[in-house]
Symmetry: C2
Subunit: 212 residues, 2 copies
């Protein structure tokens, strides 16, 4: 990588970075992470591809710089989590599965996942984004002991479900309908958010409270 690409087709001004970001956002959204190249983004922005590398480093990092979460956690969590009482697991499972089953939101979430898995620097960017925008807001809402660990356990199950169902396509998960999956996941998410993580008896007690 060089500091000053000699043949940028566009002067390196304050608008260049934004032009690249806009082209990247459009192409990643329209055709996904895999089929988008630094070259095609540079062409749309009217710059030398090396300028894209200069500003953003790599395709993974460019993706994470321009991508926006398909939902606004601060707006969504109050409705989904509420006071964290009974039913929170099912509401969260239904919300997440809806996000993953809709092609538009899924392509963003899976693109983020692929980028994070393929490069360590991208993984670090992803971790900061997920921690600040999702895990900390979620943790501050569930507001019991070990709130961050609880949010991270939820994240681990959601990430694994997205990988198994949509990236790898593990046979039964890829074909199971949304309602069946939401029902199967609900007690797990509720346990991670509100159960006693160290004690199966407390998990039992927490669940007993909501069983007729």
């Amino acid at each position: 990588m060089q500091q000053r690409p000699p043949r940028g087709r566009r002067p390196v001004g304050s608008g260049t970075r934004e032009a690249i970001a806009a082209a990247a956002r459009r192409q990643f959204g329209a055709q996904g992470f895999q089929k988008t190249s630094l070259r095609s983004i540079a062409a749309e922005a009217g710059v030398d591809p090396r300028l894209v590398v200069h500003f953003f480093g790599s395709k993974q990092k460019l993706f994470l710089s321009v991508v926006e979460l398909p939902f606004r956690p601060e707006l969504v969590f109050p409705a989904v989590i509420g006071d964290g009482g009974p039913g929170v697991g099912l509401r969260l499972a239904e919300f997440l599965l809806t996000m993953l089953d809709s092609p538009e939101t899924r392509s963003v979430m899976i693109g983020i996942l692929r980028a994070a898995a393929s490069e360590e620097e991208a993984a670090r960017l992803w971790r900061d984004m997920v921690t600040e925008q999702i895990l900390l807001p979620l943790a501050s809402r569930v507001a019991r002991d070990r709130a961050e660990l609880r949010a991270a356990l939820v994240a681990s199950q959601v990430v694994g479900l997205a990988m198994a169902r949509h990236v790898v396509g593990v046979p039964p998960l890829a074909q199971t309908d949304q309602e069946t999956l939401a029902t199967a996941l609900a007690p797990v998410l509720e346990y991670y958010l509100t159960g006693d993580l160290g004690d199966a008896a407390s998990l039992m007690g927490g669940l007993r409270a909501r069983v007729p």
Copy 2:
């Protein structure tokens, strides 16, 4: 890719594929997936790099072709799963966390995960390997209703934990000790394997049986 690389440094005979596979297995094992290149493997095997592409297609596919699971499911599952009775969740959680926390076995499992996340063809190979070598043997042991879905749900949680703890390094998960995590995961794995997936009351009942 071309059918007959013109300048292979070694005659394309029956031993060539094996020589490449042996070099790949050694290098992936010694330095991991990321730092190993097709070029370095070809150099060790004494062949043109294009011959590696000819035989194996890509680094991801080569990795999945030569890698071996760090444990033999048919030997491990009888001890870990047993008859699937109470305690199976904790035994499985402890086994998996031990595999993931040991540097040697972790590097293989994380390498598999990265390869699967980065390329669709690699994901397909990974899916076939995990399904045949892990999920079906596991499903045939737990042997209740929806055995394959249960095994896949377990796989989703394990994959997500590996991603969050070891690939992305989500803060609390990356630092949480093995025993705490095993205790937190145990009821979930036990529920996926033996609980009633559609009914929180059955999850409660299943857990009540093992609480003093």
